[in-house]
Amino acid sequence: MTTVRLPLGTFIGARSGDKGGDANVGAWVVAPVESAAVRLSHGRNSDLVSTADAVAVADARYAWLLSVLTVDGVRALLPETRDLRIEVHALPNLRAVNIVIHGILGRGVAETTRVDPQAKGLGEHLRARIVDIPTSLIDGPAA
């Protein structure tokens, strides 16, 4: 399998936030079908991709995401979480995972000394990490 080194955020979206002293990062796969939806939103319906192809690529991207964002995978990509308790929940219907990182914010936004006290940027940090992505996931209908 040939791979290419690209940011995780090439076709993975993420949004992060706080719950008390814990942070969560939700990460999901951009399906090429969403690109169609985006074009629909922009009022350009003419270049819709084939739905069957788009779903197949999205499913393959999701299977890959599950293999990358394991508990150990998260620890490797975000070293500041190395010693913290982490849960990864899969939400296959949404082609998403939710990562809960316990205690990263101490005892909450008012108490923590972290520069980003509500972990608002944590998802974007994760997306910026460069990883080996199978070229087959890049070559499908454009993200």
Binding site: G13, G17, G21, G26, V38, S41, E87, R107, G108
Partner: protein, 475 residues
């Protein structure tokens, strides 16, 4: 079968776009205007405000209400807001006064009873330990004295207030999603007791509204705001805010007003579904929603349907947001420009705190241990070195690294001038190019968040409409 109810969000936090209420009312047809004003931190902010100014509600809501109350009254748009914060009754009175001043006939509903502070001693005596969900400690073991303690209330009392004829409903700490569950249940005549007794269709309907509420509670975040693929989003300079069209079975279409910026796609809705959640079971006092069952479909331009949501039994205990005063804190950030970033940080730390960078690194994030090793007489010390890591920096931004030093102590004097003055005094005698990002500031108090739960039977919710108490409030 009733038509879907169109619930518009006009606020994602205390401080969100002031013009949003007017935009949502004037932008197109809606049935209910709602919004969330309360984050975890907001209760603490409102407590400080209450100590200073005497009221503990989000006053910006009144400003927004003044702009839309007449139109809402004419068009029969109901308004539901948790801006009551620590003082829902006082906000209810303020809304009454506003309506009287404007000459608009309005029946005001108030949902209260979330505030556990008046009954704290009694609750502790009755055996509520308020065990910290993260640490397992009881309040007593931690020696913590809470300054705010609010149970999260569900949508049922809001539905009761609307059924009781309230045009405007103000609440204290209800769950963010309750602001949608309540109006949807009122509109469709849903039966909360049936859901509790195991009626699956009713549970699914409530769970669908819970998911809808979760999606729209953070304002523009459902419409392309704060979105990973922001470069795909048109009109993000001023995105529209979300509307949930909740059908009788709880399935929902998320949309926004025609002609507004931003977009509503499977991606923008997915991003918000994942925001600040834990496992797939998302609990609310009325019902628990199984997020693993959610199905999304783009059904039109800026229209995403959320269906398939299954409801699970409601939790036995209610979540409580508690805060106590942790002490005082202060921070200063030093700029380290150019070469030898680590050596510069090391010298600064040795000068200010009697610590080497090596000691800081080996102690890690244990702020108490770091303070104990340092020459500073404070309880906690945290040091972060943000190293730009860029060689041969062409631009100033590439050349700058930052050393952030934070101290905490129960005594404000120890983290005020006693902390900042020696640091400033060192600016001509330490590493080359030393300067702080901001002038030294005074110590400021900080709160500690204490996530916990309370038994349902220990919370008594009160619902009143136009000063008359309604019977039958359930948390």
């Amino acid at each position: 079968m009733t038509d879907p109810i169109r619930i518009a969000n006009c606020s994602g936090f205390f401080g969100d776009r002031l013009a949003a209420a007017r935009e949502m009312v004037d932008g197109g047809p809606i049935d209910v205007l709602t919004g969330d004003w309360l984050a975890e931190l907001t209760m603490l902010i409102l407590m400080r405000q209450k100590l200073k100014r005497g009221n503990g509600f989000a006053g910006t809501f009144l400003t927004q209400l003044e702009q839309v109350l007449g139109t809402c009254s004419d068009r029969g748009i109901r308004i539901v807001s948790n801006a009551g914060g620590l003082d829902p009754l006082a906000l209810g009175e303020a809304v009454d006064e506003l309506a009287t001043r404007l000459g608009i006939p309005v029946r005001v509903g108030v949902v209260s009873g979330d505030d556990l502070m008046p009954r704290m001693a009694e609750l502790l005596q009755s055996g509520e330990g308020f065990v910290n969900l993260d640490t397992g400690e009881t309040l007593l073991e931690a020696g913590a004295v809470p300054i705010t303690a609010n149970a999260y209330i569900g949508g049922e009392p809001i539905a009761d207030a609307l059924r009781g004829g309230a045009d405007v409903v103000v609440t204290g700490r209800v769950t963010d999603a309750a602001l949608v569950i309540g109006p949807a249940a009122w509109w469709h005549g849903w039966n909360f007791a049936a859901a509790r007794a195991g009626d699956q269709a009713m549970r699914d309907a409530l769970a669908g509204a819970l998911v809808a509420g979760h999606v729209i509670e953070c304002g523009a975040q459902a419409c392309g705001g704060n979105y990973a693929f922001f470069r795909d989003v048109p009109g993000l300079e001023h995105p529209g805010l979300p509307i949930a069209e909740v059908a009788a079975d709880g399935s929902t279409v998320i949309t926004k007003h025609e002609g507004t910026g931003g977009m509503v796609t499977i991606g923008t809705v997915t991003a918000q579904l994942l925001y600040e959640i834990g496992g797939p079971a998302y609990a609310n006092p009325d019902v628990t929603a199984d997020f693993a069952t959610i199905e999304l479909e783009q059904v039109g331009r800026d229209r995403v349907r959320i269906g398939g949501t299954k409801g699970l039994p409601e939790p036995q205990r209610l979540k409580v947001a508690m805060n106590y005063l942790g002490g005082f804190r202060n921070s200063l950030t030093l700029v380290l420009t150019g070469l030898d970033v680590e050596a510069k940080a090391d010298l600064a730390l040795r000068t200010i705190a009697g610590l080497s960078l090596e000691q800081v690194r080996s102690t890690g994030t244990d702020a108490v241990a770091l303070a104990a090793q340092s020459s500073l007489s404070v309880r906690e010390l945290a040091v972060e070195l943000l190293d730009s890591g860029i060689d041969d920096p062409a631009q100033p931004g590439d050349a700058q690294s930052f050393l952030r030093i934070t101290v905490k102590d129960p005594d404000d004097a120890k983290v005020g001038k006693a902390f900042t003055a020696p640091l400033i005094e060192a600016t001509l005698s330490s590493y080359p190019g030393m300067f702080p990002t901001t002038p030294p500031g005074p110590a400021s108090p900080y709160g500690v968040y204490w996530p916990t739960t309370v038994a349902r039977e220990n919370v008594t919710v009160a619902v009143q409409v136009a000063d008359e108490p309604l019977v039958g409030g359930t948390p």
